[in-house]
Symmetry: C2
Subunit: 336 residues, 2 copies
Amino acid sequence: MKGLVFKYKELIDWSEVPAPKIIDNEYIIVKIEVFTFSHSDYRPYLGMDDTVAKNTIMGHEGVGIVSTIGRKVTFLKVRDRVVISCIIHCNQCKFCQQGLYANCLNAGFILGTKINGTYAEYVRVPYGESSVYKLPSEISTEQGLMLSDVLLTAYENVILKVDFNKINNVALISDGPIALAILLFLNSYYKKVTVFGHHRIKLEVFKANGAEQIINSKNNEFGDEQYDLVVECVGNDRDTFTLAQQLVGFNSIIISIRLFKKPVIFNLNELWYKNITIKTGILNNGATLEVIDEILAKKLDPNVLVSQVYNKDEVMEAFNQFENKDYFKKVVNLWL
Amino acid sequence: MKGLVFKYKELIDWSEVPAPKIIDNEYIIVKIEVFTFSHSDYRPYLGMDDTVAKNTIMGHEGVGIVSTIGRKVTFLKVRDRVVISCIIHCNQCKFCQQGLYANCLNAGFILGTKINGTYAEYVRVPYGESSVYKLPSEISTEQGLMLSDVLLTAYENVILKVDFNKINNVALISDGPIALAILLFLNSYYKKVTVFGHHRIKLEVFKANGAEQIINSKNNEFGDEQYDLVVECVGNDRDTFTLAQQLVGFNSIIISIRLFKKPVIFNLNELWYKNITIKTGILNNGATLEVIDEILAKKLDPNVLVSQVYNKDEVMEAFNQFENKDYFKKVVNLWL
C-alpha cells in the first residue's frame, strides 16, 4: 500500500510500504478514505519537534471503513464507517478511568508519532473499540474527519470548561482551524467574539460565521476592551500568552491550547488581584458522541473547516501546500 | 488618641495622633478593641513594598465597637460590636455589582495603605454599612478578628473555588496563618493534606489540626506524590510557584495566593498536556456571613490561628516580634 513516511527533517515520501496486519486481538484495521494535515505533523517535518519517530507513517486524523477486526472486537464490524480519534486509549489504566485518555499509560497521542498513522491507505488502530467512533449516515466523510481532532480540541478545552452564563465577550487569539471550530460552537451561546489574526482570507470566513470584530494581530493596537474569556490557540511558539494576559478582564479566564517548546512568562504580580483562572489542556476525544449529536442537531456544520479536498494523486502537492496559511483544513480523499 | 504610624522604611511609631471624625454620611468610626499584624504591613516596613503612604496609620484587620455613625447609616448602631473587613467597598460601582469588592473603583484594599488603618484606638471606615459585619455574641473578639482577612482569604480563594468531590489530596505550600486557615476549612472535607514548611512550632499546630504529612520545604526532597490541589500561599516573593508546578497532578489545580513583585516562569510546555487549572485571587470579604455560620456551627475554631495576645502597652514589642516566624497571628488587645 501507499503511505506518507517521515524519513527525517524535511524529507517525507508518499511511498510503497507494507500493509498493516492484526497483531493483537483488540486491534482493528481501517481502510482510509480521507485524512487531513495538521500543524503537529508539519512541525516535525520542519525539525521544530522530534515527536515523530523516523520511518513512521505520519497522521492522526482519518475516516475510513473497518476492513479487519481483532478477535476480541465485538461492537465494531467490518464495513463500519468510522472516525479515528487522534487519541488512542486502552480504557483500562488509571488515567483512562478518569477520562484522561490523552494521558493513557498504554497509548495516548501515539498515532503518526510512535506508531504508523493515518496518512496511508490502511492504518492499524490499537484498542479499536475505544478509539474509533461509528459515523451516522447523515454525517459526511469530510464532516466526520473533523471529529478526529479539531472539533474535539475546541469542544473539550473550551466549551466543556467554561460556564458561559458568566461570559459576555470572547477573544480568540488565532485565525486557524481550532479558533474557527471554537467560534462554530460559540454561535449557540450568542456571545460577542473578537478574533485576533492576520490572514485575510481566513478572517473573512470568521466574519461570515459570526465573529463580531476582527483585530489585526500584527498591529500592536489591540484596543482597551477586556475579555471575560481569552483563548489562545495559535499552535506554535509565538508568545501569544503575553497578549492573552493583556486582554483578560477581572474575574476572567485564559485558556491556552498550544504546542509549546518553551516556558512562558506569567505576570502573576499583575494578575493575582484580578482573580484570573488559567486553563490548559489537550483533548481526550471523550466527548465525541456529544459533538456528533451537536452536528446532527445542526448546531454547527464542520464543513466550514474544510478549505480544500485533494485526490490520491495529489498527496505530496497537498502536504507541500502546508505553509500556505490562507486556508483551514486541507483534506486528502484517497478514494477520489 | 494613639496610632501606629508608618513614617518611612523601618520607622514606625505608636504615637499620639488626631482622632478621626465623620467626614461623610456613609462613614462610621469604630473604637478598636483588637487588631492583628499582617505580612502585608511588615513588607512596607522593610521597604519591600511601597503600598503604604507615608504618615499613614497602618493596619487592615480589626474588631471593635461602633462609636459614631454617619447620617445615612441605618443598619448599624452605636455600640454594635463589629469586625472590619480588610476590603472596603462602595457596593455601587461596576466591580462591586459583580462581587469584586477588592477591585472597587472607590475603595478596595485601602485601609492602612491609602487611608488610616486599624492599628489605632479609633478608625474611620468609609462605606461603613458594606464594609463591617456585626459579630454574634457567641463569637469571641479574637475569633471575630480572624474574619477581617485570614479566614476569608482562605475561604474565598480555596473553598469557594474548588469542587472538592474531585479532590483526594491537597498540598499546602506554606506553614503560615493562611495555610492553617485553609487546613481548618479542609477538615470538613476529610482530605489528605500535606504541608510544606520549615517552622517546627507551627508545623506541630498543623499536625494537631489534622495535617497528615509534613514535608520540610528547605529540603529538596519533595517525594513523588502528585496532588489534586496545590495551594501556594507563602506571602512573599520566594518562588514557590515552581514547586507548585512540580507537585501538581494530572487534571489538577494550582491556587496561588501571594503578594508578588515579579512575574514567574510558567512551564506551559510541560503542563499543557496535564490539563492543569491555575487560579489566582485576592479576597473580597463577600462570604463573611457564610464563614460566621461555619464558626457558629463549630466546623472550625479560629482561635487556633491566634498565637499570642499583647496588651496596649506592648504594641511596639508585638510589632517588633514580627520577624519571629514561629507563630501565627499576633493580636494586640487595646482594652487589656
